[in-house]
Amino acid sequence: MASSVKAPILGCLAEGWRRVIAAPALSASLLVVTLLVALPMGRVVGGMIEQQLGSSLVAEKPAWNWDAAWAAEFAAEAQGLGKTFTHEIIGFGGTLKILSGIADNQPLNPTLAGAVAAYAMLWLFLTGGIVDRLARGRAVRAPGFFAACGGYFGRLLRLFVISSVTYWAIFKWWHPFLLSRVYDHYTRDLMSERDGLVIRALLYLAFGLVLFIANLIFDYAKVRMIVEDRRSVVSALGASMRFLRRRPLRAFGLYLLNGIAFLMVLRLWLELAPQAWDSIGWAFLVTQIYLLVRLWLRLAFVASEIVFFQGELAHAGYTARPPYVWPNSAAAEAIENLGHGRPPAES
């Protein structure tokens, strides 16, 4: 049933943050998972560096700072993952490179692309547990968390197939249409770089709008799928679109607020990002804190969407899928009914 109450988006944001703060193990665990995915690749890169440097005196400088000359030599010889080891991993520039890579639809190194796919699968598996935990707003402990992960994984995987195709289509067609064809058309006779910047910014907005609308739809599909225990991905998608169609401004406003929070974190990171010469431990620690905050923001984002949904369609007592009760299959229910002398359900 639809609620006539409008959930205030600032309140949803605050409540979302509160729920994430109340689940510190979630953020910390996800950081560990992220680190564990990156670690093997990092060891490979480290091995390449150590092998290339060997017993050379050249290693003295990269041992404490960036050595551009050596790094270029390394890059000239590097293969595979080694080619991603450039000055563009240092500090805030590394963040810019990643964001720019997405905005400009630049291809990823194949090994990194594989790692992204593996990470996406892991995140997909954990999403069920994450949304379930944040929807309930209380501790569920590891067994409950992973039960939800396993329980929802199949549905989320089906949704992932649809979302992957959608994102692929957006990057494959919408992005080149805007940032190549339209951009080329409107800049061909342009004499001013400033005007070019404005055009590109507008095209980024147009691209981002479609991308983020798709992301919104898939996010709320996940929320409805888990909170309402929907079995059908198609119905969850339909429900998500209906939900958003009926409250587009506030849904988008909440998305925007979360985006602003992200920008604020980026701004702080610009100041705090470690330099090449910062100590190994300090640089690692500061960056992990930054990544933890990013993860925390991501979770808060999801939580705020859950809170918004729950606030808008607040089915009484409805926090998530009802707990499993034995037996739960139709055949078992029919046997139980017989046992209790209840008539069979009308078809």
């Binding site: 680190l35 990156a38 890169v45 017993s55 041992a63 240092i90 707003g137 061909r188 604020m264 190994i280």
Partner: protein, 687 residues
């Protein structure tokens, strides 16, 4: 089946706050957010003073009568031209006279002209075909982009020479290439004889190719008229236009009148001596430019240029008027200052090192910024006598070498190309490589050493300075990194027009700069400067060949450097010396590359003593057995002073008993891991 523990807590809505508190919270959050963004908005683009004040246009100049200076060159090819630009059709219609002298010992029965713009007439020209092999193919551009040049009249006295004119392709026999026109003469021109040709032509201005063309109402016009090749004793040196090469022509006087739309600003080779309304066409102005002793004439015009001038004054060097034509969005004090300072750096350093700039003026042209290849090719970064194009961006960073690097380089070409006029078809390294070396030296001498590596993101609009990746003369100035990738492709002694297009740049610019810097390290700067100054002063206003430079190098240094030039110029062999093995007091040094170069070997012992041994570098390996010091060997370095800059692998040049590779690997693998984590999280946002 598992059961969930505990009862679910009914969902409760966020607490409802009082109106005032809610409003306060909302406003406060908004203010905090905006404040973080606005107050803390980083000056991503520039730290330093930046004035947005536009530069006022130049006040009209009263043209003073000119003294014609004594000839600096033989003045074999003199052009007196008139041309009119039709902005609506992008057409230049020109006519004039060419006074040409046969400066060789032999008569000639033909003339050969360069018609460079025919390289862009269609996709079948040699130039277009060769760009397919390089980094950026120019094939397939729309027909509206193309350019062309058609000679409509060519006379010698009363004789019409056009019927005897044919296109030839002396380099590759491409029948579709129309960049060389051969004109048969009824009567040979004897050695020392001077002839006067009448010529008329029409050129269609392309959207930029090879740094010439039109964008909007900004025209940069080069190689726009039929230009005679160079007659040498061996015959006509008049190559087709190739993707990897530039130009070659004789010195002479240029007197060019350009009829351009009224109120458009103009820059050209030489000095403007007259500007008056075109007869019978009030909408046009005739601009007359003259310059003696140059070998080309280029010009630019736009109604939008902001124009300013400043004098270059340096004790011991002649005064030069620097004239700057800026794009409107670059019309700031900072841009003006940086362009003039960079030009002055070139004039000062090159003038002091090699010889003074002899002309009264130099014109710096700021081209339209090409931030998207769809706009066409860039017209920036190119040199012409007394005029050059630089290249800037709307937002500059303090520790960025833009526009300094390109400005110094192109201003420097006034010396290496403008005055020492080597054949850019055959020996492009002689101007580009010499200039790259000189530019790097000038930058290292006069510019803040904390120059950062700058990358551009988000379509190239957002620059970011990696201040930890600092510019160095050897690696960045001499462009070692790009050279390393193509080091074995071509021997420099191969004529440049025959280089593989994809690697021609690195062999031409970078390799020369690296071996010149190596020469400097071998001989010392004082001797190297004497070599270059002698070469410059003897060969200014002439066309030297590689052997001419090598002879001067031997003469001035007092050494026979043939072995050196054999190794770096006549060979495509690469250099790589390495420490092979250190066992006890036995050290094995290896020559991994095919190139041979004498190197020093420094062995350092645990007691702090060190020995330096010289090895001729000829054999594939060399063993050192030094038992004179009983201490353990702690370090070995091949070429410890880094004399041989062409060594492709510097890492293997040394060995230490206490390697830091593990620590370096730990530092940078952890950094890489954290970057990879961020990448995973960012891309994972969509999962």
């Amino acid at each position: 089946m598992p059961t969930c523990q505990g009862a679910d807590v009914p969902f409760s809505r966020p607490p409802i706050t009082r109106r005032a508190l809610t409003l306060t919270l909302r406003l406060g959050t908004l203010a905090l957010g905006l404040g973080t963004l606005a107050l803390g908005t980083p000056d991503l683009w520039h730290a330093g003073t930046l004035s947005a004040a536009p530069v006022p246009p130049r006040a009209p100049v009263a043209f003073a009568p000119r003294q014609i200076p004594s000839p600096l060159s033989q003045r074999l090819a003199n052009y007196s031209l008139r041309a009119a630009l039709d902005d609506a059709t992008h057409t230049i219609t020109g006519d004039g006279t060419i006074t040409w002298t046969n400066g060789t010992k032999h008569p000639t029965s033909e003339l050969r002209f360069h018609l460079y713009w025919n390289a862009w007439r269609d996709d079948r020209s040699t130039w277009i075909q060769e760009t397919r092999l390089g980094r950026t193919s120019m094939a397939g551009r729309p027909a509206a982009d193309r350019g062309s040049i058609d000679v409509t009249a060519l006379t010698l006295g009363a004789a019409d020479l056009l019927p005897a004119a044919t296109f030839i392709a002396p380099d590759d026999g491409n029948p579709d290439d129309k960049t060389v026109l051969r004109v048969a003469l009824a009567r040979p021109v004897a050695p020392g004889e001077t002839i006067e040709l009448g010529i008329a032509w029409t050129s269609h201005v392309p959207r930029p190719y090879a740094r010439t063309g039109v964008q909007g109402q900004y025209y940069f016009i080069a190689q726009w008229f039929p230009k005679l090749g160079v007659l040498e004793d061996a015959g006509w040196n008049c190559h087709q236009f190739h993707a990897a090469t530039e130009f070659f022509s004789d010195f002479g006087n240029y007197d060019v009148t350009l009829a351009l739309p009224q109120n458009w600003n103009v820059g050209a080779t030489g000095a403007e001596i007259k500007a008056d309304p075109a007869a019978g066409d009030a909408a046009r102005t005739n601009h007359r430019f003259v310059q003696t002793d140059v070998h080309d004439f280029a010009w630019t015009t736009s109604p939008d240029f902001m124009v300013t001038s400043r004098d270059f004054i340096e004790p011991g060097l002649p005064k030069v008027t620097m004239r700057l034509l800026l794009q409107p969005e670059h019309g700031t004090t900072e841009q003006v200052t940086r362009h003039f300072n960079a030009t002055a750096i070139a004039l000062r350093n090159y003038g002091n090192w090699f010889g003074p700039y002899p002309y009264d003026q130099i014109t710096i042209v700021d081209p339209v910024t090409v931030f998207n290849p769809a706009q066409g090719a860039n017209t920036g970064g190119m040199e012409y006598p007394t005029l050059f194009t630089a290249g800037s961006r709307w937002k500059l960073l303090a520790h960025e070498l833009r526009p300094e690097s390109v400005t110094i380089h192109e201003a420097g070409h006034q010396f290496w190309y403008g005055m020492v006029a080597t054949n850019e078809f055959e020996h492009a390294w002689m101007d580009e490589g010499f200039n790259t070396y000189s530019t790097a030296r000038a930058i290292a001498t006069d510019i803040d050493p904390q120059i950062a590596t700058v990358e551009r993101y988000f379509g190239g609009f957002l620059p970011w300075a990696y201040e930890d990746a600092v510019w160095t003369r050897e690696v960045d100035g001499d462009r070692l990194n790009a050279y390393r990738l193509v080091a074995s492709f071509d021997a420099q002694s191969t004529p440049t027009w025959q280089y593989w297009p994809g690697s021609a740049g690195a062999i031409t610019y970078n390799k020369t700069a690296l071996w010149l810097n190596t020469l400097e390290k071998m001989l010392g700067w004082e001797t190297t400067q004497k070599i270059l100054a002698t070469y410059f002063q003897r060969w200014s206003f002439k066309h030297p060949t590689p052997d001419d430079f090598f002879a001067i190098a031997n003469e001035v240094s007092g050494k026979d450097l043939t072995w050196f030039f054999d190794a770096v110029y006549r060979s495509s062999a690469t250099f790589d010396y390495a420490v092979g093995q250190v066992t006890g007091h036995t050290v094995a040094i290896q020559r991994l590359g095919d190139g041979i170069f004498p190197v020093d070997i420094k062995v350092t012992f645990a007691d702090g003593q060190s020995t330096v041994t010289h090895w001729d570098g000829a054999d594939r390996w060399h063993i050192l057995n030094d038992a004179s010091n009983t201490s353990k060997i702690v370090a070995v370095e091949v070429d410890p002073d880094r004399v041989l800059l062409l060594d492709l692998n510097r890492t293997n040049n040394s060995w230490t008993a206490e390697p830091q590779a593990g620590l370096a690997a730990k530092r940078w693998s952890l950094r890489w891991i954290t970057w990879a984590e961020e990448l995973l999280m960012t891309y994972g946002f969509f999962s």
